[in-house]
Amino acid sequence: MTGPHAPAPNVLALKRDALTERLTLFSLSLPALALVVIIMVVPVVWLFWLSAFADDGSLSLVNYQRLVIQPSYGRILLATFEISALCTGICVLLGYPLAYILSQLSPRTAGLCMMGVLMPFWTSILVRTYAWLVLLQRHGLVNDWGISLGLWDKPLTLVYNFSGTLIGLIHIMLPFLVLPLYGSMRAINADYLRAAANLGASPTRAFWAVFFPLSLPGLLAGSLIVFILCLGAYVTPEMLGGGKVIMVANAIATDIQMFFNWGAASALGVVLLLLTGLVLWIAARLARLDEVFGGHGT
């Protein structure tokens, strides 16, 4: 018998084991952590640093002042958000029904169809954008067919403008919406819909009362990914916008390539970064709201 004050056995050794275990786990994540710090954190800090200096090398807010004073920058920011929002909205309209159908198919058939959705990922964004040029130009495939079918008389200007940029962006972004949405739809237990029907809900009613609310987390995740990727779009507006569509990334490129103004470019980058952060923060608040109403239970 050990007395009430006798030392319990192995206390220190067990504590040491726990510590070793935690250190081992930490050391496993060390390479990835180092990589993130070197290629993410350092450049971002550098970006902030650069944006805080004027052309003559003195510490100043002149780069940010310019963003506020020159109306062109406001227009660029506005256009960026406009295109991103529109692209996200159209992706939702196109992607939601697609993801819904995929989620209702047998997993085997759905897998095959998913290949179709993912196929665009196998080619470079540049190739895909050029393909749209071929399709959408004045005497491209779309215009030729449209006219020969009598849908419209004169060639439409589908490219080198806002609509061309939008079409290209939607094509690139759609899989990013469909993937998380499909995942969250697959996770919805078919019994929920059966229960809704059993309780008297028509298929339409069951969809809006049960399926749609339960698919919202996936929809939010997908929309967020699309919106944020759109905010940083460069290639598509550059090639399909015909110089008429200038998004933030294009403005940054111009600042550097034409004016060698690193300070101005950095300031734009910082603003875009902060705005993206703001979008994420708002989305997180919305997601938490969703949690209050109950996420996925069993």
Binding site: N189, R194, A195, A196, A197, L199, G200, A201, F293, G294
Partner: protein, 360 residues
Amino acid sequence: MPRDASLPIAIRQIAKSYGPVRALDNVDLDISSGEFLTLLGPSGSGKTTLLMVLAGFTRPDQGSLKFGDTEVIRTAPHKRDVGMVFQSYALFPHMDVAANIAFPLKLRGVPKAETAARVARALEMVQLAGYGDRRIAALSGGQRQRVALARAIVFEPRILLMDEPLSALDKQLREHMQIELRRLHEALGITTVYVTHDQREALTMSDRIAVINHGRVMQLGTPRQIYERPANRFVAEFIGESTFLPVQPSAAGYSYAGQALHLPPDMPAGRHHLLMLRPERLRLLAGETPERCNVLAGTVQHLIYQGDSVLVQVALADGTPVAVRAAATSLALAALPAPGAAVRLALAPEDTALLADDDA
């Protein structure tokens, strides 16, 4: 209640195949108004498929299904007006308890004030009064089960379907809920079809049991009929423990090992091949052999103490192992024979059940 509380169900020639597998093989079944009928069978027997046909989620290949006088085989699930408790409960996670229960009432255009009153009453009935604003994720398994039940009965359906509703609960809670479901059924008088693979649950709760295997009804009867007079070997083996001894037809009836058997007066007609022995229906004989009793002789092999009883494993003269359940009172324990001792087992004629060997 403004309308009849319950409806009878008539199932005729319902069949459903999945490729070469016959999930339902021409099922005929009549369920009376207000009855608690259990579909009992092993997994893959077709019992759940039959329930899904009743609910309208599975479209059969053929057959007729009537609720009362109305043919419903082609009626969409949302127009059938039957309550159902799912095995997964299927409570909507994005609604709180009250909203879940109010859902069927909202669909039926019940005014708000009445909805609130009926939700409160349904919660009371399942002993969850005051739980209306809880989130589903915050409920225990037993509470979810009750909410699912409240949601299934709140719109006063005349038929209630339950698909293994207690299978996710632990043993103690399950047994408690069995009694409570039975009580609720008696209070509501609603025609209930209950699916389970748990024979004890079926025996405890049902007015009648339909034992299902290979998509067919193997036997339909009261728990006592099913247990004491199984129609065939499958039913006898699926429900309760049993040993089978081969019997031969003789002049007076049947005999085992040359010994004529005393048979019960209600012995079903037909050709029989097997004598069914249930451990708790056998008695260890001490002293005189009672009159008109079937007696088997054997040697004790093992005694297994099981708390509420003692299982005595006996080898008959030809080596066939037979189990006898003996009471575990101190007196009986003291009187138990030791392993190796010769014993005689008595079986009352009323407990003597003969059955056919084939599964048909």
